[in-house]
């Protein structure tokens, strides 16, 4: 079966794709490549000059490390660093917008993230380094949240009497009756919860998946566009394959 990909929708920064003609191992290899091998920026080395807040230095360091940094993958390669500074005096909440970066292209993805609260006269002075690294080291370097599921398929067997119990039981209201059969009206919205099957008194409902069809969800975290993340993941995968083939040749030869 030929590979086909269709974009279903994009809500906020969550994109959904329908992929047909792919296998779980291949799709999962791409997913894992995104998670493990595609690099992005995250704060890693910090120097705390002043921290009068109630938060311990370690606690604060952890919060800073978790901040999603908008990554420019074209000018930053794995291992590259960029300096950031956070300086603030209380009273008030310290937000991610208070972090200043030496490179104007690099910033924290969300400006409204509360970092710590300061009382009057309390001071904060921190110097940070964001490093380009891959998710294999730590999940803070994961460029996107990515998951997939097989495309659901719900259908009724012969002994269905169209009682509509299953339709009322569906929490997502995605079922309907068409030509005396229960069918899945919106297969992309079905969450495979099984409430329809449980509601059926005649055991007439079957829940199945369409083989080789998958729903892919991608939610970029580090401000990189979806196609860039996927392309980089596939390039990494190809690179790994080439290395493997080369090593295999050596084994054969020796």
């Amino acid at each position: 079966m030929a590979l086909r990909i269709k974009k279903i929708d994009e809500k906020g920064n969550v994109s959904r794709y329908l992929i047909k003609g792919i296998t779980t191992p291949l799709l999962n290899a791409i997913r894992r490549s995104v998670i493990q091998h595609v690099p992005c920026l995250a704060i890693d080395k910090i120097t705390i000059y002043e921290n009068d807040s109630v938060m311990f230095d370690e606690f604060l360091g952890h919060r800073l490390a978790m901040l999603p940094v908008k990554t420019d993958a074209k000018s930053y390669k794995k291992g590259d660093r960029v300096k950031m500074v956070l300086q603030k005096e209380g009273p008030g909440m310290v937000y991610s917008k208070d972090i200043k970066c030496t490179d104007p292209k690099i910033e924290i993805v969300d400006k409204k993230i509360p970092i710590v609260k300061l009382k009057k006269d309390q001071k904060l002075k921190i110097e940070m380094q964001a490093i380009m690294q891959s998710g294999k080291e730590h999940s803070k370097w994961q460029p996107a949240i990515i998951s997939y599921q097989e495309l659901p398929n719900v259908y009724s067997e012969k002994n269905c009497n169209q009682c509509r119990e299953c339709i009322d039981a569906c929490p997502k209201s995605v079922l309907e009756i068409k030509a005396k059969k229960v069918v899945l009206k919106e297969p992309f919205e079905c969450i495979l919860c099984g409430a329809c099957r449980d509601a059926c008194e005649r055991d007439a409902l079957a829940i199945d998946v369409e083989k080789g069809s998958f729903l892919l969800y991608i939610e970029p975290v580090a401000g990189m566009p979806v196609n860039e993340v996927i392309n980089m993941a596939i390039a990494e995968l190809q690179d790994k394959n080439k290395q493997f083939a080369k090593l295999l040749q050596k084994v054969k030869g020796g």
């Binding site: 809500k11 906020g12 969550v14 009068d52 807040s53 109630v54 938060m55 919060r63 978790m66 901040l67 999603p68 991610s96 993805v109 969300d110 400006k111 409204k112 993230i113 509360p114 710590v116 609260k117 009382k119 999940s139 994961q142 949240i145 939610e219 975290v221």
Partner: protein
């Protein structure tokens, strides 16, 4: 003590939504509706915002 930056389970950045969420709840809006409209879909992320207890103001009293 303060809203965690990311969801513990999936890693979605949520702290930036917290103040909006809190304002809406204080206005009497249902948490369910507020979370849906903020685009927080997975239940791992929903519990992060939904179960947050802000304690930093109380803890701050113990540091001069």
């Amino acid at each position: 003590m303060l809203i965690p930056i990311r969801c513990f389970s999936c890693g979605k950045q949520l702290a930036g939504l917290y103040e909006q969420f809190k304002q809406r709840i204080e206005k009497g809006e249902k948490p369910e509706k507020a979370l849906d409209e903020l685009g927080v879909k997975r239940y791992c992320c929903r519990r992060m915002l939904f179960t947050q207890a802000d304690l930093i103001d109380e803890i701050m009293q113990y540091k001069s």
